[in-house]
């Protein structure tokens, strides 16, 4: 595992919304291209904050982040996006006043060429969205919106996709479908970093998982480990301290 360059490395990450109040404390994690890594944890554990900081949407106090071996700590979101990171926020993740096609055009805003071709490709991945490019995003159902949000993020052929609670507020059936789609995207060669609260379902699809509690990384392991460890819920309560293995030193280039 240590021989390859990870897609993303996060080292000693600390920060939060306001000066002096850290939401995240010294979190380290990494992600390889052939992985689905899921961050789970109770409400307010700092999962979304971490994800936002990773894509450059939030400034952070200390630590650094590397993308494909390059230090990208100070990069703005558009720059991260341009270099191959897709990001789907949890809420407000589509342009509601715009059509499906326009949403995708915006997703591909940085593309110099092949915009129309990529739109067709992306639409082919999501049959729900195909055939009605002029439909306004505000008319879509929750599941369809989530699909559109992901389709938008895929417009630039990212190598890594950051998803913030993609299955929140979806019906169980829609959740299953969406996770399967995420898996399909992953199989096309995209590393997935996802934050989830519906942990059990997400873990089924995950290669690895990180448990965050109160801004700390409490536990890390394979998706299967997490599922089979007697009770993941107990880890949420902080009993897992020290149990997981850490790999902060691993994978440096």
């Amino acid at each position: 595992m240590n021989e390859r360059t990870p897609l993303l490395q996060v080292e000693e990450f600390s920060g939060g919304y306001v000066d002096g109040i850290d939401i995240i404390h010294d979190v380290a994690l990494d992600l390889y291209q052939d992985e689905i890594l899921t961050i789970i944890g109770p409400n307010g554990a700092g999962k979304s904050t971490l994800l936002k900081a990773i894509v450059g949407a939030l400034p952070f106090e200390r630590g650094r982040r590397l993308f494909q071996g390059e230090d990208v700590s100070g990069w703005s979101t558009p720059r991260m996006i341009a270099s191959g990171v897709g990001y789907v926020p949890q809420v407000d993740n589509v342009f509601t006043s715009m059509s499906i096609r326009e949403n995708l055009e915006m997703g591909g805003y940085m593309r110099k060429t092949g915009l129309q071709g990529r739109i067709a490709e992306v639409l082919a991945m999501f049959p729900d969205l195909e055939g009605r490019p002029r439909e306004r995003a505000s008319r879509l159902s929750g599941g369809q919106r989530q699909m559109l949000a992901m389709a938008r993020a895929l417009m630039l052929d990212p190598v890594m996709l950051c998803l913030d609670e993609p299955t929140a507020a979806l019906s169980p059936a829609a959740r299953g479908e969406l996770l399967a789609r995420i898996y399909n995207i992953h199989m096309s060669g995209v590393g997935i970093l996802m934050v989830e609260q519906n942990a059990t379902e997400a873990l089924v699809w995950s290669d690895r998982a990180v448990v965050m509690v109160d801004g700390d990384k409490a536990l890390e392991g394979t998706g299967l480990d997490m599922l089979t460890s007697a009770d993941v819920g107990r880890a949420f309560l902080g009993q897992g301290e020290g149990e997981g293995f850490t790999i902060e030193e691993g994978g440096l280039t």
Binding site: G16, Y17, V18, D19, G20, I21, I23, H25
Partner: protein, 353 residues
């Protein structure tokens, strides 16, 4: 305001100017306090001039004697002046209700537009409808309160006393109001409307209450102004003097904080009304343009304070109830107190366990 240009060469002149200045500033301080009440619940009133004007006109026409000769205005019943003041407050409140009903439920910005609009329309009505308030000729000969009883030059002291007493009363009232549970609810609404809604408060009703209270006080200020200056015309209540000037006082003094607002009124008022005093001694090229420069500086003051000292000269003290924890997300970043920021900065220097 030109009437304030009094030579300061003599001691008497200086005293007279100071008395007149303080009287005017007291009236504007009342306006600013009233505006502060509204601002503190997130009501953006860009039509202070309208409420000011309504109060002035209502009290004036009610207390004036019946019109004679070329004069033409309604009422003219010659009622006692304090009763006129009461009616001025009622008029302010009525205007607030009329404006608030269609707009308070909607986006914040609509009220701002509606208030700016109502100031413009009231001015144009006053200017153009015959037989209402004497059109652009204005109303003249409005008696001052107790003016008949006090003879000679001493009356300006009485005017000052009246303005100061009412200012103190208004100050006391708004302080009481904001310290009450009602005031706490108002602040909660301003800082986070959604949270306040979630905790079961009817925000529209609270905001309407604050809007009405503020507008009543503005009406009162208008009435005092009318009786003090003795003559009013639509031009008196320009957007610049009646609205933006008051806003500058609020921003400079420290929004959300009553003491700061009064200080702001004093500082900005001195700047504004003091300018004519130095006009004579300025070189010609500047002296002839001093009023435009003054207007420029007022605008500059607003922008500069917003940029570099958003909390104003006197910062609002952190008075959120101790039982409410203010999360980082719902904190109002634009008006945080200096002290709180210092504390937070200090916290970052501490070693972390």
């Amino acid at each position: 305001m030109e009437q304030l240009i009094v030579t300061l060469v003599t001691f008497d002149g200086a005293v007279n100017w100071t008395v007149g200045f303080l009287t005017t500033v007291s009236i504007f301080a009342i306006l600013a306090l009233a505006l502060n009440i509204q601002w503190s619940v997130g009501i953006l009133n860009f039509g202070v001039a309208a409420f000011f004007m309504v109060g002035a006109y209502v009290s004036a026409v009610l207390t004036l004697p019946a019109p004679e000769g070329l004069e033409s205005y309604v009422a003219g019943w010659g009622i006692p002046i304090p009763v006129g003041w009461l009616f001025a407050m009622v008029a302010g409140a009525v205007l607030a209700v009329l404006l608030g009903i269609p707009t308070l439920r909607l986006r914040d910005d609509f009220l701002a537009i509606a208030t700016i609009g109502v100031a413009a329309i009231l001015r144009s009505i006053a200017n153009s409808v015959e037989g209402l308030v004497n059109r652009s000729r204005g109303l003249n000969g409005i008696d001052g309160f107790l003016e008949q009883e006090v003879s000679g030059g001493g009356y300006r002291w009485v005017e000052l006393a009246i303005a100061l007493v009412i200012l103190c009363a208004v100050y006391w009232l708004v302080t009481q109001a904001t310290a009450s549970p009602w005031g706490r609810a108002l602040r909660a609404i301003r800082d986070n409307e959604d949270t306040a809604k979630a905790s079961g408060k009817n925000t529209v009703r609270f905001r309407m209450g604050a809007f009405i209270l503020g507008s009543m006080l503005m009406g009162l200020a208008g009435a005092i102004y009318a009786h003090r200056s003795g003559t009013i015309s639509p031009l008196t209540f320009s957007d610049l003097l009646g609205t933006f000037f008051v806003w500058t006082m609020l921003i400079v003094g420290g929004s959300g904080n009553h003491r700061g607002v009064v200080v702001g009124a004093l500082v900005v008022g001195f700047f504004w009304f003091g300018t004519p005093l130095i006009q004579e001694s300025l070189p010609d090229w500047l002296g002839s343009r001093v009023f435009q420069v003054r207007q420029l500086l007022i605008g500059l003051l607003i922008v500069a304070f917003l940029l570099w000292r958003p909390q104003g000269l006197l910062a609002e003290r952190d008075r959120v109830s101790r039982f409410v924890t203010v999360g980082p997300e719902n904190r109002s970043t634009e008006r945080g107190s200096l002290w709180r920021r210092l504390r937070e900065r200090a916290a970052t220097q501490l070693p972390r366990s």
